[in-house]
Symmetry: C2
Subunit: 222 residues, 2 copies
DNA sequence: AGAAAAAAGAGAAAAAAATCTCTATTTCCA
DNA sequence: TGGAAATAGAGATTTTTTTCTCTTTTTTCT
């Protein structure tokens, strides 16, 4: 169950994990309270924006003091659904897939990958970072029987659409898709794309801008 | 050099890679022209929005016909800087780092990781997917000497800040940061966060919404 | 050839998000 | 005890992004 079922703007929701990370580090340092001014400085965000984001989660602060770090962490983790993790299946035990399986982080962030699947016979039966790799054929049945609603998709592009359909067949409701394709699935299925390439695009552009600032070579010939 | 140095909205820029992926698949099927209506249908976007995005890149279409697939791919790849890849260094040859190194995709998306670095003696000297792993100490010098401006950061949280500073020391201008911390660096350095957890947050929330739609159990007791 | 359909492109409108302004509260300090 | 400073929180404004509307162009069909 996810807390405070109210409507939150998508950009706000995306910023929340960053707040939790920062707050956890504060807690480690023994800091008791924090202001949105301080959070904003650390995360390079406008304090008002931070305040608005926090307000969406139901958190409350006190003037002149700020928010209690401990309480705020709890409220945010509750809101994000990190306090009772959701079970997920992962398909594609390749490089990226294994990396995600080995990523302890996920479990602290609300996601528990309880089984992996692959079509490659050599991989089936293996144990990747403590998670059993099963034959992809078994996915629909197991997903339905175990009530798993989340699928992580780390297969090559060519296989992505087909695997996604198997997931849907098994009652999966949301897919975290790391393949660079737009999956064609029923309207009701939520697909979160990995956006690796979107991020890379932004990175390259910004870099290019920075480089050409340093080297103003092209003098804009008219 | 990146094409059409004009200003493009960030959301538009992020959508461009998706267009290229779709266009490439069309090209494989031998499709010669495509309309924004068709692109929108495939990627679940408003056709007008697709048109606006494409306009930013300088692409031109023809009424009643659409855009020439071949030309559009070239224009977009040019705009994204995918035609002459940028060199990058990666630090942290752990699970995620190796996964990225093994990811052929990056080179087709404008990024060429030419060397990896790690502080762990056991990893230094190894060869991960064809990329040599060097001692982190050598990064600043090599970056400066080779004119590398992009750094990919896949180290554990605790090391992230320190490694990022070494990168900056070596003249790195942009960092792709996969550690869940907000790096404190000079203003001019661009940091693109991996946003894994931001995506996960959205995924979990949407899933929760979908599940509670199916099971309207909590009748909102007043 | 002329009418109809499909789509680009430009501009306007609407929606969403970020930022700014102001007020009220709380704490610290003199 | 009173004033000053810092900050939450609410509301207004601005900016950005998305969506809608209309016009023009091109192609196809009769």
């Amino acid at each position: 169950m996810i807390g405070h079922s109210a409507k939150i703007p998508l950009p706000s929701l995306k910023r929340l994990p960053g707040y939790v990370h920062f707050l956890r580090s504060l807690k480690c340092e023994g800091v008791a309270t924090v202001s949105t001014t301080a959070i904003g400085r650390a995360l390079r965000l406008d304090p008002t924006q931070v305040r608005k984001d926090l307000a969406c989660t139901g958190a409350e602060g006190r003037p002149r003091v700020g928010y209690r770090v401990d309480d705020l962490i709890v409220v945010l983790e509750e809101f994000l659904g990190w306090r009772n993790v959701s079970e997920a299946f992962l398909v594609g035990a390749g490089h990226l897939g294994s990396a995600l399986l080995g990523y302890e982080g996920l479990r602290n962030h609300g996601l528990d990958v309880i089984a992996a699947f692959d079509s490659h016979p050599a991989k089936v039966g293996q144990d990747v970072h403590g998670v059993k790799v099963l034959d992809i054929e078994r996915l629909p049945g197991l997903a339905r029987r175990m009530g798993v609603h989340i699928g992580v998709l780390t297969v090559p592009v060519d296989a992505a659409q087909e695997v996604a359909e198997r997931m849907v067949e098994g009652g999966i409701l949301s897919i975290w898709n790391f393949a660079p394709v737009s999956l064609q699935l029923p309207e009701k299925i939520f697909v979160q794309n990995g956006e690796l390439y979107a991020q890379l695009a932004v990175l390259l552009r910004r870099t290019e801008e920075a480089v050409s600032r340093k080297t103003p070579s092209t003098p804009e010939v008219a």
